[in-house]
């Protein structure tokens, strides 16, 4: 057993006097894809922001490779849900991807090839010279993913990346994301409010519940997903394990709302 890439050690977060996340502990192993699911307002985005160092925990510590996370690092890439706001509208697709390389101080001569490489990976090679406003939502989100891949991160944090897309585009991007993650051996923490998406993508699913308090921890369930890869939008979702997990989490989410 290798050391975990990411470790949450009794991480608690209070914002404006309200407890968002009660002390929560879990670990993410290298190469693992962990999904975090829960109703809106349960603190899943805040948890992800703490993993990136954008938010400092009020208690406990987040460690990456054994070192406490205190601020954002280039080893960690963050895919925001609102791709429309996270892209620079005045830069073309390749300019947006190039921003990650400029930040990392990659020499100008190397940038072109690396940009072409990641754009080919996400299927945007033909759109390198377009501006974000000329692309569909799904393509804009691919640009953001490409920018994150260009960072060559150890850890990829994704905050409901496909939440604003239509079902067909979402399914396509889910499969693409799963493929990219496994090709590059990335470690991923993936936040979603969609149960099926969490089970379909995850090696493990962590379920959070809202309004934590005494006797009601934020972390409600932690479930392994024993479904082999590669997964398939049709057959995986008919797999007995998928149905069992879905039922278990569904009941929990319903309780959360009740």
């Amino acid at each position: 057993m290798t050391a975990p890439l990411l470790a949450f050690d009794r991480v608690a977060i209070t914002l404006g006097g309200r407890e968002i996340l009660s002390p929560t502990s879990f670990e993410v192993a290298r190469g693992e894809l962990v999904c975090i699911v829960g109703p809106s307002g349960c603190g899943k985005t805040t948890l992800l922001r703490a993993a990136s160092g954008l938010v400092a925990p009020s208690g406990g510590s987040v460690r990456r490779n054994g070192v406490a996370v205190t601020q954002p690092s280039r080893e960690v890439a963050f895919v925001f849900q609102d791709y429309g706001r996270a892209l620079l509208p005045w830069r073309t697709v390749q300019g947006n991807v190039g921003l990650a390389l400029e930040a990392a101080g990659v020499p100008k001569a190397e940038r072109g090839a690396r940009i072409d490489g990641v754009l080919a990976k996400v299927g945007l090679a033909a759109h390198a010279h377009k501006f974000p406003a000329q692309l569909s939502g799904g393509m804009q989100q691919r640009v953001q993913i490409a920018r994150c891949l260009a960072q060559a991160p150890l850890l990829l944090l994704m905050d409901e990346p496909f939440g604003a897309l239509d079902a067909l585009t979402r399914h396509g991007l889910q499969d693409e994301a799963a493929r990219l993650v496994h090709e590059d051996g990335l470690t991923v923490l993936f936040v979603t409010h969609d149960l099926e998406e969490a089970i379909y993508l995850g090696d493990r699913v962590i379920a959070l519940q809202s309004n934590p308090g005494p006797g009601r921890p934020s972390l409600a369930r932690m479930l392994e997903v024993p479904i082999p890869r590669p997964r398939d939008q049709l057959t995986t979702k008919e797999h007995p394990a998928f149905l069992r997990l879905r039922r278990e989490l569904f009941g929990f989410i319903e309780q959360g709302h009740g």
Binding site: P72, A77, R85, L99, A100, E102
Partner: protein, 253 residues
């Protein structure tokens, strides 16, 4: 046919007004020292074109407006960036700004005359003062309205503070800076002509005053109309520049 009609329609009202003025000046106000028919103004305009006074006056006014606006933009954008990015700088300068800003720029003419004497420097200084405040205030608010998500992206990507300012904040401000610039262009022209009418013996405003004092209503009307045309042209150019930059920066086509 319909296309020609649509293209000519905006000209209908100005032509009608000019015709009415022509008729009025030739009948009711014939021989007036205040009103001249537009046709006479056109003749006077050609006279000014021929003797070179037209370009001399126009270039002086436009030159000082441009120079004043340039100074105002450089100082205003730099100051606005500072105030927008640093809360401390903003808090320690708000009172000063609010005390200085309401001073009508024309009220500075006596002071500017004492300091710089007549000429380009005095006029430029008053224009720069007038246009500086909107540039400063609008740049400050533009910086504050930069999409917070983009600032987070710059943190996550690990951009240096310099890169953040140069690659994120400044380009994100450009659309709003152009609004400020177009406002500044209008202010600069108005103030330039005002300074020339009130004090500075140069430029289009002064030429108009001289025509008035020389009891030459045709020439005065010619300058008045010409100032309108120049103002229209400068604003149209600024608008075109704005649209071109917006397209180059990925704005909706």
């Amino acid at each position: 046919m319909a296309e020609w009609g649509a293209r000519l329609r905006p000209w209908a009202v100005p032509l009608l007004l000019l015709g009415a003025l022509e008729l009025y000046a030739r009948t009711v106000a014939a021989g007036s020292d205040a009103i001249a028919p537009p046709s006479a103004a056109l003749v006077a305009w050609f006279g000014a074109l021929r003797d070179g006074s037209l370009w001399q006056g126009t270039l002086f006014t436009l030159g000082s407006a441009a120079l004043g606006l340039l100074i105002a933009s450089l100082l205003g954008i730099a100051g606005g960036l500072l105030l927008g990015l640093s809360r401390r700088a903003d808090a320690s300068s708000t009172l000063t700004i609010e005390l200085l800003r309401p001073i009508p720029s024309v009220a500075l003419i006596p002071l500017a005359m004492l300091v710089f004497g007549f000429g380009l420097r005095m006029e430029t200084a008053v224009i720069a003062f007038a246009a500086f405040w909107p540039m400063l205030i609008l740049t400050r608010s533009a910086v504050r309205q930069v999409e917070p998500r983009l600032l987070e992206v710059s943190r996550v990507l690990g951009l240096s503070p310099w890169q953040r300012g140069w690659k994120i904040v400044l380009p994100a401000c450009v659309p709003r800076l152009f609004v400020a610039l177009r406002l500044g262009v209008a202010i600069a022209l108005v103030v330039a002509v005002t300074v020339e009418i009130a004090a500075n013996p140069h430029g289009m405003g002064y030429a108009m005053m001289i025509a008035q004092q020389g009891l030459d209503p045709a020439l005065m009307l010619a300058w008045l109309g010409w100032i309108g045309v120049v103002g229209y042209a400068v604003n149209a150019l600024a608008l075109q520049l704005q649209q071109r930059v917006a397209r180059a920066m990925g704005g909706a086509p």
